[in-house]
């Protein structure tokens, strides 16, 4: 399947059905929460033991992994790609710029499920944890995203 025919809802359905513990992070998570930001790719953080499940779910969409599961675990990242681009973070925990750590098991426990369509849910980190993931790779756009998320948090927790 070419990216131009990419069915986003079906993609998320396949991930959910696969049983892979995969959290949508990055800017598409901001979009789901209601922030109108542009992005080219998808970002997931997947449990270190669930790479093969995610790859199997992505395969019918023509998305091929750039590394084997073993290589991905060793490097901490890989990409699923055709003319879509899915960045996948693979780590038990990741350091943040302010010397903290974001731990997958912890943020998975606190995840929120968002319904995309009937019978299709996607997993997002909590707002607090999504902000924490923005401290992993401290680029200018991550700073911008943190400010957007903080503003959104002030609405949810006045």
């Amino acid at each position: 399947m070419q990216g131009s025919e990419f069915d986003e809802v079906e993609f998320f359905r396949a991930i959910e059905r696969s049983g892979a513990r995969a959290l949508l992070i990055g800017r598409r998570a901001l979009v789901v929460l209601g922030l109108p930001v542009l992005t080219a790719d998808y970002d997931f953080w997947v449990h270190i033991d669930d790479i093969a499940l995610l790859n199997t779910a992505a395969e019918p969409f023509g998305l091929l992994p750039t590394r084997s599961p073993e290589e991905a675990r060793a490097r901490g990242r890989y990409v699923l790609e055709n003319d879509e681009h899915v960045d996948v973070l693979v780590a038990r925990s990741v350091p943040t710029v302010d010397a903290g750590r974001v731990v997958f098991e912890e943020i998975w426990t606190r995840r929120r499920a968002v319904t995309l369509a009937v019978g299709v849910n996607l997993a997002l980190p909590s707002l607090e944890d999504l902000i924490a993931t923005k401290r992993i790779a401290p680029r200018p756009k991550d700073l911008e995203d943190i400010r957007l998320l903080e503003a959104l948090r002030s609405k949810e927790q006045p």
Partner: protein, 84 residues
């Protein structure tokens, strides 16, 4: 309108990418986050959120909007390969 826009050169694209993707130091990051969000900035963000949610009430609609907007955005910038 897009026909009047010169595509950026490879060097410009590389420079912009490096600028956008550069990792800030812990000090730069902390300094930027120490600036509090003003009430005006918060109000502007929440106004956008309100519009986005009203126009695209469901997460699926919002995700679909971003795919359309991104395609529109990339079409608006002519590629160098397509330029004379």
């Amino acid at each position: 309108m897009s026909g009047t826009l010169d595509p950026p050169g490879d060097a410009t694209v590389a420079w912009l990418r490096a600028l956008a993707e550069r990792e800030l130091s812990a000090e730069e990051f902390a300094a930027a986050l120490a600036v509090p969000i003003s009430s005006e900035e918060r109000a502007a963000v929440l106004e956008l959120v309100e519009w986005f949610g009203r126009r695209y009430p469901t997460p699926a609609e919002r995700l679909a909007y971003v795919r359309r907007a991104y395609r529109r955005w990339t079409r608006a910038v002519p590629s160098r390969a397509a330029s004379p």
